[in-house]
Assembly symmetry: C2
Homo-oligomer: 459 residues x 2
């Protein structure tokens, strides 16, 4: 790595960068919880300060109606140099269940080369190495090899409800030739990979009511509807015995993998025991019949119940027939599924299955994100491949990522190809207790982020 | 009612009795919530004071390991007079959802002749009129027509986990010829009834874990087990398409109704529209195929899911595959079902249905209560029938009540027939927001409680 533009920079600035990382991670910028709105704002202001200190210009905290985003740029690379917009986010997931954390989620520590904290990898760490890469290049060369724009969102973890509107409102500010998303991962440190596709997301909260009040189970139980059972029946009915989603027409628009895509996916290393262990020790795999695990998590659409609740959840027993219940479901979409069509299909599915007289309230959550694919023959993808090979020592595999985010809107609204440089690992426990970032990946990410700008500047 | 022993007593003591009722109802003696343990104790001490002021003797707060019970007696009726033990309870249900109460649950008010408060009818009101009946008889006659024992439990609402042990430990103190339970209801003020059977109760909390941590739904969703779905599938599987409980052998011990019992039950007035309205406006009836609604709520065994939870329940969406979930289920039992057999059957049912590798923790809740029947040819039942007829103006119907309680243990351990004098009404919203007691029923209950002692003293 000695010939890389930022070789040695991480070592030289080690103490300051770790201290900065910790300070940022101490801000509980949980976008899902209105009680943390001021923390999300504090995190945005912290980020703005980092961008200014890095030597970037036009730093601005951008109001969105939700968590604020942060913008900065450096636009002096000269005629002919491409403009690159780097995307990250500074908001984080909730931390419950709190008692499963080995150390407090907002009191970061580094243990055995891993930084433990909410937001460590998702996405403050991955945003920080981008900021530090710009800072390092400016410090060493006095300039950047490209025109750089940094956009750090503040409501990615709640589904970016205002992000597309922000992009549209600020389209000239964000105009660019290439987008680099810094919020993904790779298969393993010795199996580097980059994402060339991202599933979309449509999510809903469904609230059910079967009576005006909870009823005494001894007086009414056995004769009246039970909201817990109505909710459970709906959750159970979401999939058939073959693990297929039962929404009408759900798979109609799904484009099959090409033989080349299928061959590439099948060539990925996959060790079931390692996969089970890294997936929080799950005891077995399951899913849509006829597909491999890598297909199920990357290229197939899914319906995942992320929450289910009805009746009494306190200690002991309460002898009621619950009057209210509900569930939250997230659908992952793949090309060419369309969020609005899935929305309509889900409503039709509910209308068909909720018994008459049970009231149902459907709340779309997260705004709806269409699935995205990166054109793999774009020269910028070549620059990314060379960068990853230079830093990790191996040509990266191409993957499709199961996750969703604002990436699709970035590419579509800004009309630019989207690259994914991400150093996360499958067992980083994002969205779960004990989220971590492997520090060696962070330092490599810093070097790679700088080198990618160099490679993109070379065209 | 002019020739009844306590005619006019309620009017004379109106202000004091209502004030006493309100003071007791202001104590939030929620036995399910450990944070209210001191309130349960405070309620016991309040009750003990009432018993002393009534002129009863040997007043004692009895420790149980859970919420304390209260005891008092008056044993000077002389040779040949029967000993009657009156049972009530002073603990109450939780109050959530709090925002559905029209007035604060522990700030009692009387509106349109109804007392609104948690515990109004279940069971402080029904206990208070028993205490006041004894007080009134002692005040008016200087003596009682029977030897009287009052036992007021403090953990009925959590399934009386220590009650049978208390009965056994204090068997000589509680020895009696007749038990009177003051914790039930009647069909309507103009359709008085008394309970001659009570379903039993076996309840469980089931906790499931499918992974050590919640997983990101984009990275793992579609390939790994989801604890919400496991919980939902179990809840759905509890009943078959005919509404029958699927536990192995669940119905084997159920004794069919005799033709006379069936004819009596079928003769009860039943108006479906009124029933739906009084059941919190439920939109339709359902239940075990082949049985009427009155059979389903009174004489058939049931399985009711009282709580169901998994994953994220906060605002918005959280894109996880939940690692934990669970449910709480209450089985109502009828003669001759045996709690321990249902316990074993439920465990076998779970073992068969929970996928291997999903961890499951089963916690019995409430201790297990066997179903109970009162012998309707006992002379004491005749005394109760005469009393109800004298106060409400009609011969009562015999019902079997769906609820459960410590009544079975009382009858079995003390070897005495159990009478049910209860003034609750089907739409009293017990265990729900806006619990109420119809004050006219309370005043009638006071007169009836006194008259029943007179009738039992006459043999």
């Amino acid at each position: 790595m000695a010939d890389l533009a930022l070789a040695g920079y991480g070592e030289e600035e080690h103490e300051r960068i770790v201290s900065t990382l910790f300070d940022w991670l101490r801000i509980p910028s949980i976008s899902a919880d209105p009680q943390h709105a001021s923390d999300v704002r504090g995190s945005a202001e912290f980020c703005a300060r980092l961008l200014r200190e890095a030597g970037l210009e036009n730093v601005a905290v951008l109001e969105t109606g939700g968590g604020p985003a942060v913008y900065a740029d450096w636009l002096h690379a000269g005629r002919g140099a491409p403009t690159v917009l780097v995307y990250g986010h500074h908001d984080v997931q909730p931390v419950d269940p709190l008692d499963e954390w080995r150390s407090p989620p907002f009191d970061p520590v580094i243990v055995d080369g891993e930084c433990l904290a909410r937001g460590a990898i998702d996405d403050k760490g991955q945003t920080l190495y981008q900021i530090e890469a710009a800072r390092g290049l400016l410090a060493r060369a006095g300039r950047l090899p490209v025109n750089l724009k940094l956009l750090v969102e503040g409501e990615e973890e709640v589904g970016s409800p205002n992000f597309e509107a922000l992009l549209r409102a600020e389209m000239s500010r964000f105009a660019c030739d290439i987008v680099v998303v810094s919020d993904t991962g790779m298969i393993a440190p010795d199996v580097p990979s980059t994402t060339v596709g991202m599933r979309g997301l449509v999510a809903f909260d469904v609230a059910l009511r079967s009576a005006s009040i909870d009823l005494h189970s001894g007086m009414w139980g056995g004769a009246v509807p039970n909201a817990a059972r109505v909710a459970a029946d709906l959750v159970t009915a979401l999939h058939d015995d073959a693990g297929r989603v039962t929404l009408p027409g759900f798979y109609d628009a799904v484009r099959p993998l090409s033989p080349a895509e299928k061959a590439s996916l099948d060539s990925h290393p996959f060790n079931e025991a390692e996969f089970l262990a890294s997936a929080g020790g799950v005891p077995y795999l399951e899913g849509e019949a006829g597909y491999t695990t890598l297909e199920r998590i990357g290229v197939r659409p899914t319906a995942e119940v992320v929450g289910l609740h009805a009746g009494y959840a306190g200690p002991g027993i309460k002898t009621i027939v619950p009057a209210t219940g509900g569930f939250k479901v997230a659908f992952r979409l793949v090309p060419e599924q369309v969020p609005s069509e899935v929305d309509a299909s889900f409503r039709a599915w509910l209308a068909e299955r909720v018994p008459p007289g049970i009231s149902v309230a459907i709340t779309p959550e997260g705004g709806g994100v269409a699935p995205a694919l990166t054109p793999v023959d774009h020269p910028a993808v070549g620059a990314l491949v060379r960068t990853i090979e230079a830093v990790w020592g191996k040509v990266p595999l191409f993957t499709r990522e199961g996750g969703s985010g604002p990436e699709e809107a970035l590419g579509r609204v800004l009309g630019a190809p989207v690259l994914f440089l991400g150093v996360g690992l499958p067992d980083d426990r994002i969205h779960a207790p004990n989220e971590r970032m492997v520090m060696d990946q962070f330092w490599k990410g810093l070097v790679a982020a700088g080198q990618l700008l160099v490679a993109l500047g070379e065209g």
